[in-house]
Structures are given as C-alpha cells and as structure tokens.
C-alpha cells in the first residue's frame, strides 16, 4: 500500500504493508534513524513521536492508523521553539549517557512542556514515567525540563 505522509513538514511517501508500525516506516523505509526501537510493546517510550502534536508510541502504531495527521520526529523537533530549547538544555546539562532513550525523552519532554509550561516535579513524574532510561539519567532529565521552564518564564 502507498501512504502519503506528512513528516517534519515534508510530504513523503511509503509503500509498505498496512500493519507496518510507523517506527519501521520511519527508520527503515524513510531512513529517519532518530526514533528508536527499544521494546516494541509500548513499554519503554524510545519510539515516541508526535502525531498532530500528541506523543504516541510509534512501535505499536500501524501506518494505516496515521491517516493525514502530521508526524513530528526527533529530526524535526528543533523546528519548534520549545523543541529547540529542550535540545539546548539537554546539551548544556549533558543529559545523555548512552543516549539511546533520549530521542523519546525529548519528544515526551516537549509535549509535557507544551501542556505545562511550568511543570512541578509531580507533573514531570507523571508525564515522564513511561519513558524508561536504562542508564538512569532521570535526575538530569528533570533538571533540564526545569531549566527550559525557567528560561521560558524569564522570557
């Protein structure tokens, strides 16, 4: 089946089986390697992308369910001001260890910050606890989210 997709503002096409998860269309068909495969069962969050701005698990989202919704991945999140700030904070605070979960963490953090521009620790816990980090960079992730929130507050 041919699917017309809107990804990071570009119109792309993929010819794949309807049950192919969005994750594999991104990674293998379209060669966007930033979105990661961790568990394949919606358990880890490494594959988080935005569908019309909402975070989803691309490993369990069949391409046939995407429709005309616009997809944003880690490769495109920097086009967004919040996304760019999050990327910046991630670098300044040296958030990654291995870095493998971090695309998913950044995508989750951006949606959290859009929902709560000044999140409390509890809101961060609630918003980020489905994104696992095997290296356990959680302290830095939290600090980086606060840093973005503080920067936004100070304008």
């Amino acid at each position: 089946m041919k699917y017309a997709l809107s990804i990071n503002g570009s119109q792309l096409e993929a010819d794949v089986d309807p049950d192919t998860p969005l994750l594999w269309v991104l990674r293998d068909t379209l060669k966007l390697k930033g979105t990661k495969f961790g568990c394949g069962m919606s358990l880890c969050g490494a594959c988080t992308v935005h569908l019309d701005g909402k975070p989803i698990r691309s490993c369990v989202t069949p391409i046939s369910a995407v429709g005309s919704k616009s997809i944003t991945t880690i490769e495109g999140i920097g086009n967004d001001t919040v996304g760019q700030k999050v990327q910046q904070a991630w670098k300044i605070l040296d958030v990654p260890q291995c870095g493998y979960c971090q695309a998913g963490q950044i995508m989750a953090a951006v949606s959290l910050l859009k929902q709560f521009p000044q999140p409390t620790d509890q809101q961060i816990d609630a918003g980020m606890s489905r994104n696992l980090c095997r290296c356990a960079t959680y302290h830095r992730i939290k600090a980086a989210i606060h840093q973005v929130a503080d920067a936004v507050k100070e304008g």
Partner: protein, 718 residues
C-alpha cells in the same frame, strides 16, 4: 600518584607528516615493522592529528556505551596538549591494539589503562609544537608558553596557532614519553571541568550513531528465531512457506557449534522478517536444559547446604572451634536471582561479506574478541575481518559477549550483500548472558564484647559439568577475609545449562548484597550501631588486608557518608536508614539509603547519599556523576524488581517482567568524591554494589524485617 607507563605497552612515539601535512602523533610498538612511514598508516594509528587547516582531532580509543569515555579520555589528551576543547573533534578509533592498547569497555578499566599514557601523548604533541615554534623564532623553548591551542612568546608578544606550526612540528624529534614533563595538576583547566558529551549534538537531533542506525546500500534485514529453551536446536522447520511470504529473500537454519541454533530469516525490511517469523513452524530438540527450573534450583540449594561444601575456597584459623567458643552465633540464608542486562538498544550487528572479506559494524564492548569470534564462525582469518565500532545504546557487560557478531557473519556470508541482524526485545531477554543467581548460608560468631571472631559462608552457585559458570564464582578475599581471625568460605554447585556472564560490577553486585547485609545482621545481634561495627572491623589491630585493599580508604568514605547523611539522627516511624560499603574495581564506595515502607508493604526509597574514592582525579565531573547516579539507580532496579526465573529457558519477555526504575520512583542521590593521593581509577561499576545492602539494611531499620532474598517483595513487609 604513580606515573609509570604501562610496562606491558613499551611504546614509542611515532610522529608523522601525513598526506596534506600536519602533525600526526601516535604510538608504535618497536618490534612491529611499520609498513608505511607516513600516509594512511599514520592516519589510522594516530591518537592526535593537528593539520595546517586548523583541524585538531583526538581518537577515542575505547568503545562508548554511555560511560562517557569518548568524552573523558580525549579530554585527558587535550588537557596536556593545551588545545581549545571547543575546537577538538573526537573520532572513534579503529580497532588496532598495537596502536591503541586496550580497546574494550569493561571492568571500569579504560580510565586506569589509558589515563597516564594519554597525558603523556598530549604532552608530547605540545612539546613538538613548542619545539617547532622555538625553531621558527630562534628563541629558547623555555621562553614559550601555550594556551588554548596557541604558542606564545611572551618577550616579543609573538604567537602562532597549533595549525600554523603543525607541519614543522611533525619534523621535530619526538620526545621521550617516559620522561616528558606533565602539567602540574593545579594548572588543569579541562580535567575536572563539567564537560558535555561529544556526541550530544548528534543525539539531540536524532542523527545516526548507534549500531542499529547503520544503513548500507541494498542492505537486507535479518532476524534469528531461536529455541526458548537454552541450547535447544532446530529439529524440523517449514522453510518453504516462509520463503513465499512478501519481502522474504532467504530463510535458512543455522546449526553450527559457534552460535546458538536457530532459523535465520532475511527480508527487504526488518518488519517483514519479524512478521514472517511469527508464522514460522519449527520443532525443537529442546535438549537437557528442558528439565531445569528455578524452584528446583532452590530445593537443590537447601539440600546442598545440609552437606559440607564440595570445595573449601578460603580457610583462616579454626572456624569450628571459634563457633563453639563464641558468645553468640548468628546464622542466615541469602539468595539472589539470575538477572538480565536489558540494555535499551537491542542486540544488532551489520555485516557485509565481499570478495573474501568481512566488514562488521558492531556495537561491541570488546571489538577484538568479536573480530576473532566472527572470523572463526565462518572459518576465515582474523585479518580478513574489519570491525567498525559504533556507539552503543548501553552495554552493562552484555556486549562483552559477541555472539551476535558471529551470527551476523554467518548470515552475511550466506547472503552476500550487506545485512543487518536485529534481535527483538524478547530475543534479548531470552538469550542473554545472565548475571548468575546464587545462595549463601552464613554463620557468624561474636565474643562477649560483640567482636566478630568467626565467619563462614557456604556459597551454592551454578556450574556445568562441575565447572563454575562464568561470573558465578566468588573471590576468596571477599571482605571480611583478613578482618576475622577465623574464617571459612566453601562452595557447592548446582548443575545448570544457562548462559551467564558479566553484568556491571560482576560478582560484586551480588556479593555486596549478601555480605554487607549479613554484617549488618551481625552488628544488630551484637547490639552495635552498624557503622561503628563496620569501622571497628576495618580498624582491627590484627587485620591482614588482602589484594591491596585499604581499610583506611574504606573507613574514610564510611565516615564521610555518615556525616553527610546525619547518620544516627532519628527518623520517622516506618522509615529507616541503612549503611553499606563495598570495594570493587579499585574503587571505594560507602552509601546510606533512607527508605520507608507503607501499610501495603510498598517500599519507597527517599534519599541516597554516596561517597566514593577513586583516586586523585575526576576527569569529567559530569560523566562521573552520571556513572555514580546511574549505577546506584541500577542497583535499586535490581533490588526492587529484577529477576529472571528459569524454566528450561528464561521466563522473561520484555520490560514489564524485568522492570527498570522509572522517573516517579527515583530518589534524590547526593554524591561526593574524596580525592585521595591514589591512582585515578574507573567509575563504571564500583558505586553499584553498596546500594542494594544499604537499602535492605534501611528496610530492616524501618520494619525489623530482614530482606534475605531478592528482589524485594511487598509481602515481606505487609
């Protein structure tokens, strides 16, 4: 600080002017003939490259698994070179042990193996740039200084960048590595500074870095379906129906002694291969591992404990007499489970077999060994295998085993085009090299003053044909060896067919739990504060410390962590603090955990204090903090959640059954390093072992109930 070069690596400096000019500085072994005086060889084996067009490149010699070595070791060269870190690019070194020495990531060994040598290489490069400037300006070398990649002549105000001096520097006499002058550590401007990882920009933009991201023209994708029972083999399989499925290019049985038996499916896309696999009809010959299971292991341990240990591994004094004489004898049985690595990037390897040569793109912690394993799996010479090391989505010891490189080699040879093998998460959990489980039956005897006089352990571990499984042994010098006048360690083995291996802080991650919990029990039985008890033990006048273990360094971290955590101050009801310490991988760590237990028995870890001593320098405080916090939280995951039950094979398929601590369960972790005048050692591992017993000891303090088996379960407290 000892500043001797590793005598096993009697290297000389090798400076070359390579293609395009510039200074390429590396090491060479005097007994290896250099194929080329300059050019490609120099390019590939140089630690530092400075070219006339302003490029400063430093090689990262060790594989990057998230331990931060790709940032920290190049920092060491840059420090002595006195280059501007912002202008340095870091490249992953090719596999070449003649030029780069140890190139594996494990055992917290990369920093101690390379730290001193890297300083000297950086200093040597700087020295040659200085010589070049002195020659050009005709001034004494001593009148020159460097800063941020520029040589200054103070008297005349002249200055030249390293780039401008690079060609001339390459023609200078290379200095003697052993006698070269190093910076006074007080003048360090990069070592000791918070430094962000060199790959961070690529990471936050999702640029390809990892093994799983490798993409080659016309590449195919492979999966391997294996028997869920360890060692099981393919008996029959219907390949014809698989071959007929969309996108499938190859399906074949792999059944050689070099890798696990299984069915390889190769397709245009990974998803097609994975989907085809679900339709695979295969009959297995499950073999003898079919019979084994965890409940039976538990039973066997009890039976073995009723007998004498089959082997005595440590014997000091006379424990039998000492137990008979003791004022009080404390006995306890401990157990811990098999656990998996669960590194987030699933096992993968990309391979291309072409004209008798195999090229691998491998996320491996041990590339040289993987190269040998891949070569032997397809019967070629090791020189016919090239390994490109990729960044890794975690290692934790899993990628010290290179089974997947051999598998990728076999598939690549069969298909003849580039192919990426990728396991799914279930494969990863079911075909790991597990941290072995184990059982300890302890006995301790104290005298009327509460002093430890006798200690014994009957360790029941796992073996195959009477040989202890990998990483399933125990050190004869395990503390309190050397600190008790009468001590005996014995061991017995349960037969098992389980692949085992190293997991971050191997053996120590389990021994820390059982020994430091048991000593806490003894302290309580003696009516002593656990901190005071452990300090008194470390300071015994009749102590005979083993293997370079320093009781002074351990006592110092214990005292400091007690101070930081307000040890001894009362805590609210159902809350408790526990303390533990452990020496591993040359690092000394003491930790205090504060935890609480609610009426449902749910454990909450509130705060952790960590004090470590890894010698004189912390190269990158950012990376160091990451390693400590990461290790500590990993220890909590192990203590609170993780176990792999065995029933033929591993009864775990994904993260819901082998959980990782999530953001909402993460406590504050306060970390302090004691800088001591000892060689700088590694940090990947030593912070992990103490956290588990510190938590269990805290739970005892909170509830009066002793955790003697992991993982911790709410039923223990409800």
């Amino acid at each position: 600080m000892t500043t001797t070069l590793n005598p096993a690596r009697r290297h000389f400096l090798k400076a070359s002017a390579a293609i395009g000019g510039g200074l390429f500085l590396g090491l060479y072994l005097p007994n290896i003939a250099y194929a080329a005086e300059a050019g490609q060889m120099a390019v590939l084996s140089a630690h530092v490259r400075i070219t006339a067009d302003g490029v400063i490149e430093i090689m990262s010699v060790a594989p990057e698994i998230g331990q931060g070595i790709k940032t920290s070791l190049p920092m060491v060269i840059c420090e002595e070179l006195d280059a501007d870190w912002a202008q340095v690019s870091v490249l992953q070194a090719p596999v070449n042990s003649d030029a780069f020495g140890r190139q594996s990531a494990g055992g917290s060994r990369s920093t101690p193996a390379h730290f001193d040598e890297h300083r000297r290489i950086g200093a040597a490069a700087r020295q040659m740039l200085l010589q070049a400037a002195a020659e050009q300006w005709q001034v004494p070398l001593a009148s020159l200084t460097t800063q941020a990649g520029i040589v200054h002549h103070g008297a005349s105000g002249r200055q030249l960048s390293y780039a401008r001096l690079a060609n001339q520097a390459a023609r200078q006499q290379s200095p003697d590595l052993a006698s070269i002058t190093l910076k006074n550590p007080a003048d360090f401007s990069l070592i000791g500074q918070f430094t962000s990882g060199v790959d961070n920009d690529a990471l936050v933009h999702g640029r390809p870095l990892f093994g799983i991201d490798v993409e080659l023209p016309s590449m195919l994708h492979a999966v391997i379906h294996k028997c869920p029972v360890f060692g099981g083999r393919v008996k029959t399989v219907d390949l014809a129906s698989i071959n007929a499925l969309p996108g499938i290019r190859h399906a074949f049985v792999i059944d050689t002694s070099s890798v696990d038996s299984g069915v390889a499916i190769v397709a245009d896309s990974w998803w097609q291969a994975e989907k085809a696999r679900r339709q695979l009809k295969v009959q297995w010959d499950e073999g003898k591992a079919k019979q084994q299971n965890s409940a039976d292991f538990d039973k066997q341990a009890q039976q073995l404990w009723r007998k004498a240990p089959s082997q005595i591994t440590q014997q000091v004094g006379n424990v039998d007499k000492a137990f008979a004489d003791a004022a009080k004898v404390i006995e306890a049985e401990y157990a811990y489970p098999f656990i998996a690595h669960g590194q987030l990037e699933p096992i993968n390897c990309t391979a291309h077999w072409q004209a008798g040569h195999l090229t691998l793109w491998a996320p491996t912690q041990n590339p040289a060994s993987g190269q040998r394993q891949a070569a032997s799996a397809i019967g070629i010479d090791v020189n016919d295998v090239t390994v490109n090391v990729t960044r890794m989505g975690g290692g934790f010891g899993r990628r010290l085993f290179n089974d997947y490189m051999a598998e990728a080699a076999i598939i690549a040879k069969q298909v003849g085009v580039p192919v990426k093998l990728l396991w799914n998460r279930q494969d990863d959990f079911q075909h790991d090299y597990y941290r072995p489980g184990g059982y300890h039956k302890f006995k301790a005897g104290i005298d009327a003053q509460g002093q430890l006089q006798a200690f014994s352990d009957h360790f029941v571990s796992f073996g195959n044909n009477g040989r202890t499984l990998l990483a399933a042994g125990m050190h004869a010098a395990e503390f309190p060896t050397g600190f008790v006048p009468n001590l005996q360690f014995g061991s017995s083995l349960i037969e098992a067919q389980i692949p085992t291996g190293w997991l971050r802080a191997p053996t120590s991650n389990a021994m820390g739990f059982v020994f430091q919990s048991m000593l806490d029990e003894v302290a309580h039985a003696a009516g002593q504060d656990p901190l005071a008890f452990q300090l008194a033990l470390l300071r015994r006048s009749d102590a005979k410390p083993q293997n370079g273990f320093s009781p002074q360094r351990m006592a110092a971290v214990l005292e400091r962590v007690a101070e930081l955590s307000d040890w001894g101050k009362p805590v609210p009801e159902f809350h408790g603090k526990g303390i533990a310490c452990y020496y591993s991988h040359a690092g000394y760590f003491a930790e205090v955990v504060q935890a609480s237990v609610n009426q449902m028995g749910a454990v909450k870890v509130e705060k952790i204090w960590v004090v470590g001593d890894v010698g004189q320098f912390i190269v990158n405080p950012s990376g160091a903090m990451h390693q400590v916090q990461g290790a500590v939280l990993e220890g909590l995951s192990q203590a609170l959640y993780q176990q792999v039950l065995i029933d033929g094979g591993a009864q775990v398929s994904n993260y819901h059954q082998h959980k990782i601590l999530a953001m909402n369960a993460v406590p504050e972790v306060e970390v302090e390093f004691l800088a001591t005048d000892n060689p700088t050692t590694g940090l990947g591992e030593p912070a992990l072992p103490p956290v588990i017993p510190a938590l269990c000891n805290a739970l005892f303090a909170a509830t009066g109930k002793r955790v003697r088996s992991l993982p911790i379960k709410a039923e223990m407290f409800a």
